[in-house]
């Protein structure tokens, strides 16, 4: 456990010193600021647009962080051969994978938190300057605490995407891993359609295949509660817990598979 912690701390340090990360987070924070201007242009529109765009920005920027840093941390070690000296230390390969993953999730948590704070600041500022009459037209207050459930599920989804990126990077090249991860991300959002496949075709083989894919591929749509939160529909704690549980189980399976592959791999 001590070893995993040390690897995680190192992975965290390594990633927060990455220029790509700075750039992405800076971009996100600027974007949040720009949302305020957009809000001004669409005056009369309510605060929903800003919440919606802000959450979307957090998700997209987080996705890029998860994919690029997620892939980089293991495959860069392999590609640049730093793994040779690292693995000659008294660590086991599974500790390396788990430590890296923990470090990445920590990186993500910090970044999602930074973006969330930026979003809340923008919303808080709006709430501060707008008149009471105008605010009365909002379904929910600007700096709505209920947004936390959306932000939290974005984070869980990103942790899952990171596990996917890590999984691919244990056996394929960084660029292929990126393509595969983005691919799976997109597929993951339309996964639910596979379930209703039988209403579209009547080949039973195709239906079984679709069913199998439905269960194997990650289902990412449930993590997206932006619309509900923005429109003031309640997202129950039970739903958040269930979805988190699904994410955690999927992450565990991916990490297990990553460890299995990584432990058998030749670093030549």
């Amino acid at each position: 456990m001590a070893i995993i912690t040390r690897i995680a701390v190192h992975a965290f340090k390594e990633s927060i010193r990455d220029k790509v990360l700075y750039t992405l987070v800076l971009f996100a924070v600027l974007l949040m600021g720009a949302l305020y201007l957009i809000g001004q242009l669409t005056a009369g529109q309510d605060v929903k647009i800003i919440k919606d765009l802000g959450l979307a920005a957090t998700q997209i920027v987080g996705l890029f962080i998860a994919v690029f840093i997620g892939i980089g941390l293991v495959s860069k070690e392999v590609e640049r051969r730093s793994i040779y000296s690292l693995l000659s230390k008294p660590i086991r390969r599974h500790e390396l994978i788990l430590g890296k993953y923990a470090g990445l999730v920590l990186t993500l948590a910090v970044n999602v938190a930074v973006m969330a704070v930026a979003l809340y600041l923008v919303l808080g500022y709006m709430s501060w300057i707008e008149s009471e009459e105008f605010k009365a037209t909002w379904v929910r207050p600007a700096a709505d605490p209920a947004m936390w459930s959306a932000l939290f599920l974005v984070f869980v989804q990103l942790a899952l995407v990171t596990a996917i990126a890590l999984f691919f990077s244990t056996f394929s090249s960084p660029s292929l891993s990126a393509v595969l991860t983005f691919g799976l991300y997109v597929v993951g959002h339309f996964n639910a359609d596979l379930r209703n496949f039988e209403s579209v075709v009547d080949s039973s083989v195709a239906v079984y295949l679709a069913r199998a894919l439905y269960y194997v591929l990650p289902n990412l749509a449930p993590f997206d509660v932006k619309a509900a939160v923005v429109h003031g529909e309640p997202v129950s704690l039970g739903y958040v817990a269930m979805t988190t549980w699904y994410g955690a189980a999927y992450v565990a399976a991916l990490l297990l598979a990553s460890v299995f592959i990584f432990s058998r791999r030749d670093f030549k």
């Binding site: 040390r6 051969r81 000296s85 693995l87 000659s88 008294p90 030749d266 030549k268």
Partner: protein
């Protein structure tokens, strides 16, 4: 006999080469070797001989096709053994965003050193490899030779009993080579087992108790340098009188040449002087000098490398 520090037994590694129809390519073929505790062993061979492959198998960076590798009596990859070894990879590379000191503190931590102990250790080691002044600089800005020195320092972070160095001199300037040679000598004097690969024979000659010579994946010779280097390869006979044509008639074509009006004939090991000299006398040649040709390590190495099959 006590357990050897390093033991290879029939170690074999096939790499799959070719994309569409992968075929196995034997990079290492049935290598068996023991290194006693406290011994400094030079693992010599030309490019592609299988030195790096052997070291990677010992570190379990790759898995053997057949055979076993043991360090301190434990199978390669054993965490307990790794606690007591150090490894310098070939052309080492680390993390761009860390300084040399941070790297050593991180690696020290993996050996459960406390941060303070690791920092102290880092300072000592970085001074020892001549990087004291650059220790806070990010590794991104290190030159190849500086990275090589960091590589040596990180291999010693845990005060290892067994040290594996893959081409420790590569990328170093003359001063660096001398320092590294001195360092290896010290490691040996401190009673550590050192296993280092090289194709620089003079380094091995000055440092090693024993060498193992590899060529094309096979171990072709092991032994004390003195025993290997001074093996008699043949003789050189200088004669006066006789003619080059006469020598050709005896079968010395290439082997005979004229130098300053005398004939110099190179005899191989299959042409012992006892047998050849009477024949020369019959040609009317008088022996002026007969010198055995001792093989230098370099010659030995080159010969073995060009004809690995002849060694068996």
């Amino acid at each position: 006999m006590s357990t050897p520090a390093i033991k290879l037994d029939g170690l074999t590694k096939d790499y799959a080469v070719g994309f569409w129809r992968p075929r196995p390519y034997r990079a290492l073929d049935q290598v068996s070797l023991e290194v006693a505790s406290g011994e400094v062993l030079g693992y010599l061979g030309p490019n592609g001989a299988g030195k790096t492959t052997t070291l990677k198998l010992l570190m379990q960076l790759i898995y053997p096709t057949a055979g076993t590798a043991e360090i301190l009596g434990r199978p390669a990859g054993d965490v307990g053994a790794r606690r007591r070894l150090g490894y310098l990879p070939e052309l080492p590379y680390f993390y761009d965003n860390l300084s040399a000191e941070e790297l050593l503190v991180y690696f020290g931590g993996l050996f459960s050193l406390s941060a303070a102990d690791a920092r102290r250790r880092a300072a000592t080691l970085l001074d020892r490899v001549g990087l004291g002044a650059a220790r806070h600089q990010r590794l991104r800005r290190y030159s190849k030779g500086m990275l090589q020195r960091v590589g040596i320092a990180q291999a010693l972070v845990n005060d290892p009993e067994v040290v594996f160095l893959d081409e420790p001199m590569s990328g170093l300037d003359p001063v660096g080579r001398r320092d590294t040679r001195e360092l290896i000598r010290q490691l040996g004097a401190e009673g550590r087992t050192v296993f280092f690969s090289s194709h620089i024979l003079s380094d091995a000659e000055a440092l090693c108790d024993r060498v193992a010579i590899m060529a094309q994946g096979k171990l072709i010779a092991t032994g004390r340098i003195a025993d290997l280097a001074f093996e008699v390869l043949g003789w050189e006979v200088v004669v006066s009188g006789g003619s080059l044509d006469g020598m050709r008639a005896l079968g010395f074509d290439e082997a005979a040449r004229e130098v300053d009006g005398r004939l110099v004939i190179e005899l191989t090991i299959d042409q012992p002087p006892e047998r050849v000299l009477p024949e020369l006398a019959r040609q009317g040649a008088q022996v002026v000098a007969l010198t055995p040709r001792h093989e230098s390590l370099e010659d030995y190495f080159m010969r073995m490398v060009s004809q690995p099959g002849d060694a068996d």
